[in-house]
């Protein structure tokens, strides 16, 4: 055997165990050198929201608002002996990614609750994962009826996830509210419905159409579009001759702003109405002057009319976040506070978070009742917000003006 060979093998033989030793080196060994400051016990509140991809702006608003609630709670020492931390996870607006994120949060024993998701489709995946681990979930934005009332929500509502709550309002209420407004206040009798074929858009459109026809109005035609498309001239040319007095759009602002502009340029000079998905400053910015006269519903009373909402907006500004709080910021802030409020009692004298603590929190969240930024925060037997106030906004000279606030009784 040559020297080189022997050395080479010797080298490997020494290196490999070294790698292994490094691999087995546990963190505990290094704790020998203490001296760093001893901190309070930690609980975490998770956020699952789209933090990458198209919906980043909304997801970031949700994350920052929860962060704000947590910071305030820590400053006020709302949970004595404990420090709350934020654990934000990206769901990329995709169900499977969301489920993965939920599994990650559920496996972190310090996590006591999750605020999210934005998309109803993602929530359908996230809720069961969190339910298995008894982690409470409060969504600021899911509006799909099935999440709290099951598949047969119209006939036999049954709550599918015991850990799931939401501060947002149902599609059926929003669509109905919009239909009543169009029929009673705008005196519109003929509408065209367009939606984006997504869970939110389709659900909202269906509930609008149901209520509008119940009122006696006529839905002339229903068309669908693809999200991501830019040119809707073809579909608009098609419905032009129908002679509608209003276009109802179920979907979100990127497509809505294009539709509104192109409709008016095609010669359909009627307002466009939508749900909370279009009530966003970007809608007006990109639709331009053509957006004037359009309508959109939103959850809760207008922030200008509520002291608490004004405080939230001012605090958010003062905290200096790079992105805006978006349409769901206030509801996310309320959702986070609903969880935080249960912590002092639920944690009690516990040394660490365990199953029983998580169970107590789920139970306690169902019973919270306090005045949040957008009204009273409390949940009914299905986990839905009891506050069902909705506001109709109209675009006037470049901004959303509240024109009617009320509730939809169905």
């Amino acid at each position: 055997m040559t020297a080189s060979k022997r050395f080479r093998r010797w080298g490997s033989v020494v290196l490999l165990p070294l790698l292994l030793a490094a691999g087995c080196g546990d963190d505990e060994e290094e704790t020998g050198g203490t001296g760093e400051e001893e901190s309070a016990k930690v609980v975490k509140i998770g956020v699952i929201a789209p933090l990458s991809g198209d919906l980043t702006a909304i997801g970031t608003g949700i994350k920052n608002s929860v962060d704000l609630a947590i910071k305030q709670a820590n400053e006020n020492n709302a949970v004595p002996g404990w420090r709350i931390e934020l654990a934000a996870e990206d769901d990329a607006a995709k169900p499977d990614v969301g489920a993965q994120a939920a599994a990650k949060l559920a496996s972190d024993r310090a996590v006591v609750g999750v605020v999210g998701t934005y998309n109803s489709s993602v929530a359908l995946q996230v809720a069961p994962v969190l339910q298995k681990a008894n982690v409470v979930q409060v969504s600021p934005a899911n509006t799909n009826d099935t999440l709290t009332r099951g598949e047969d929500f119209k006939t036999a509502p049954k709550r599918p996830f015991s850990n799931y709550f939401r501060t947002a309002t149902l599609d059926s209420l929003q669509g109905g509210f919009a239909a009543d407004y169009a029929w009673n206040d705008l005196k519109v009798a003929r509408v065209v419905i367009i939606h984006d074929k997504k869970a939110y858009g389709q659900g909202l459109s269906e509930s609008f159409g149901r209520q509008f026809q119940k009122n006696g109005g006529a839905v002339l035609t229903t068309e669908t579009i693809n999200t991501g498309d830019k040119d809707f001239n073809a579909v608009l040319s098609k419905i032009r001759s129908a002679g509608a007095q209003l276009i109802f759009y179920g979907g979100e602002y990127p497509e809505a702003s294009l539709l509104s502009r192109q409709a008016k340029n095609t010669g359909i000079k009627v307002p466009l109405m939508g749900g909370d998905g279009i009530v966003d400053p970007t809608y007006i910015k990109t639709a331009g002057a053509e957006a004037n006269g359009d309508y959109g519903t939103s959850i809760g009373a207008p922030p200008e009319s509520l002291e608490s909402a004004k405080t939230f907006i001012a605090d958010y500004k003062a905290a200096g976040y790079k992105d805006g709080h978006s349409a769901y910021g206030a509801l996310a802030y309320d959702a986070a506070n609903a969880i935080i409020r249960t912590l002092p009692t639920a944690l009690g004298s516990a040394e660490a978070v365990d199953e029983s603590v998580r169970k107590r929190i789920v139970e306690a969240v169902g019973k919270v009742s306090f005045d949040g930024t957008s009204g009273k925060v409390a949940f009914d037997e299905f986990g839905d917000a009891v506050a069902r106030t909705l506001t109709m906004y109209k675009v006037e000279s470049g901004s959303f003006k509240a024109v009617k606030t009320g509730e939809f009784e169905g």
Binding site: W10, L18, L19, G25, E29, E30
Partner: protein, 547 residues
């Protein structure tokens, strides 16, 4: 012999001394404080022990000491260790500076480590070039080889488990850099060659050991389901990637709509499992559903393949892309069957006999979360897929595919029924994807059109190409990398995709044949590589630009 060794060392005496000094410095620095402030992961502000990422520096320092005495190949090995330590220290200096407010947060230990790492790299660089080790390892007694193989696999498992446990991203990057450069060093020492020769020589044992390690993984997770879940998803993805590898890697047909077959399987799985929202109220036994899902997907493969397989490569790519889109749009709009945009949710947990796979079980005193069961099901499916793939690769069919891939005209002239064989590749690939899809419907408990976009098809192709075309290892490595890296990059939140894009570009630049290319293909690449512009791309010269 001693004289010879001393002679060698003397030729690079100063360089060796420099590298040695660097190694000692690095080791000392590993025990010194790296940060001036408390709170950086690994208690970096304290001296006296090698905490946090300093452990990597320590290991690399010791390795450098050993390597400098190695006679052959020590220049390359030393260089990779030196650069590795530079990278590890560098990453941490940047991270510490970022967290502690500029360079004031970086303590003297880190600078010392940087100097040491630099000295190792410089010393190694100055060493005389020597012939890289190339000789074969001698065959050793069976028990020694077997235990070496077991140790190697255990080391891999240990590294994986350890890496997954690292929470802080700066430390995880240190870990990745460390493992990367350590692997390069080990490769230079010839260890990998030896290992791979062992694994090819003792195939049976290799398979048993690999299976054992794979089965052992859930037991290392302490009842925590997160990574088991990720690994189960990797399993599903890997089966699909192996299927795609039959189409792309073996037969050379570029399929950009492959995820559609996966989707067909998933919808079949959800529809026939009596999910809450199914539109077909039939509950078939799971094994039957897997076969059904695979078969229906294969039929789709034949339907789409029959008219289009006579098209040239890139045309086939766009037709498959079109098919993928048609599938997604159909799933989104055929509300009566597919549930439209909401998809089908509430797919129940699998039950085999009386065992509900969704529940947690306790095995050998270790509690396994429910997901571990799916992980095991995935392993079985994966094993089946691997078996199919390797059998095909070694058969007449596999050789015919390679012939088609390399030169279709020549293959046809030699009597290969090209259309039939291409159809077969398409159908087999689709079958595997369909089978994987049916399982995935249960793993994610829901199917919806959003999961079967063009981007997913692209990711599958990327997995195959990144890993290395035409090999099982490649498909496995590629799928694992594409799943684990984004999961680990979660810390970077919205910069994840950006980094992913950069990683794809760099990977193709540095190692275009993939992480684990097939030997046959590697050889082909080396032999070809003419200077022509389009030469080695394997594509025919294009047609004129003008009509």
């Amino acid at each position: 012999m001693r004289a010879r060794v001393r002679g060698r060392i003397r030729t690079g005496g100063r360089a060796t001394a420099l590298a040695l000094t660097g190694a000692v410095t690095l080791i000392l620095a590993a025990f010194s404080p790296w940060a001036t402030f408390a709170g950086f992961p690994g208690k970096m502000s304290l001296g006296g022990f090698a905490g946090g990422a300093r452990l990597f520096a320590l290991a690399l320092g010791v390795a450098a000491m050993v390597i400098v005495f190695d006679v052959r190949g020590r220049r390359q090995t030393g260089l990779s260790v030196g650069l590795g330590s530079l990278a590890v220290v560098g990453v941490n200096v940047v991270a510490i500076a970022g967290e502690g407010g500029a360079l004031g947060g970086v303590a003297w230990g880190a600078w010392l480590a940087l100097a040491g790492a630099g000295a190792i790299a410089a010393g190694a660089f100055l060493l005389p070039t020597d012939r890289p080790p190339g000789e074969e390892w001698r065959q050793l007694p069976a028990p020694i080889e077997a235990s070496a193989m077991a140790t190697g696999l255990l080391a891999v498992l240990g590294l994986v488990v350890w890496g997954l446990r690292i929470e802080e991203s700066s430390r995880f990057i240190s870990f990745l850099v460390f493992v990367g450069f350590a692997s390069v060093s080990l490769h230079h020492l010839g260890l990998f060659d030896w290992m791979s020769s062992l694994f090819t020589r003792r195939v049976r044992l290799a398979m048993v050991l690999t299976a054992a390690v794979a089965i052992a993984f859930p037991f290392t997770q302490e009842g925590n389901s997160y990574w088991i879940r990720v690994f189960a998803s990797i399993g599903v993805f890997a089966v699909a990637a192996i299927g795609l590898n039959v189409v792309v890697g073996l037969a050379g047909l570029l399929d950009l709509g492959y995820v559609a077959f996966f989707g067909v399987g998933a919808y079949v799985g959800a529809l026939f499992a009596d999910a809450t929202l199914t539109t077909v109220h039939v509950h078939l036994p799971f094994l039957l559903v897997i076969l059904l899902g695979g078969t229906i997907a294969a039929v789709f493969g034949l339907v789409i393949g029959a008219p289009t397989l006579r098209l040239r490569g890139d045309y086939l790519a766009i037709v498959t892309l079109g098919f993928g889109e048609i599938f997604r749009i159909t799933a989104n709009n055929w509300d009566g069957l597919t549930g439209g945009p909401n998809g089908i949710s509430g797919v129940p947990d699998l039950a085999i006999g009386s065992v509900n796979l969704g529940e947690a079980h306790t095995v050998f005193g270790v509690s396994l979360p429910g997901f571990a069961n799916y992980y095991f099901v995935e392993l079985l499916l994966l094993a089946a897929a691997i078996l199919v793939f390797t059998r095909l690769d070694d058969s007449r069919i596999g050789r015919a595919w390679v012939a088609i891939r390399e030169d279709e005209l020549a293959a046809a002239a030699s009597g290969v029924d090209t259309v039939r064989l291409k159809l077969m590749a398409f159908a087999i690939g689709a079958f595997l994807a369909g089978a994987a899809g049916t399982v995935n419907a249960h793993v994610t408990s829901q199917v919806s059109p959003d999961s079967y976009t063009f981007l997913e098809s692209i990711l599958l192709v990327a997995a195959v190409v990144l890993g290395g075309m035409g090999t099982v290892r490649g498909a496995l490595l590629g799928s694992a990398a594409l799943f684990i890296i984004p999961e680990k990059l979660r810390a970077f939140q919205d910069k994840r995709l950006l980094l992913f894009g950069i990683a794809l570009i760099l990977m193709m630049r540095l190692r275009p044949e993939g992480m684990a290319p097939s030997r046959r293909r590697q050889r082909e690449l080396r032999e070809e590589a003419p200077e022509g512009v389009a030469g080695a791309t394997g594509a025919p010269p294009g047609r004129p630009v003008a009509p």
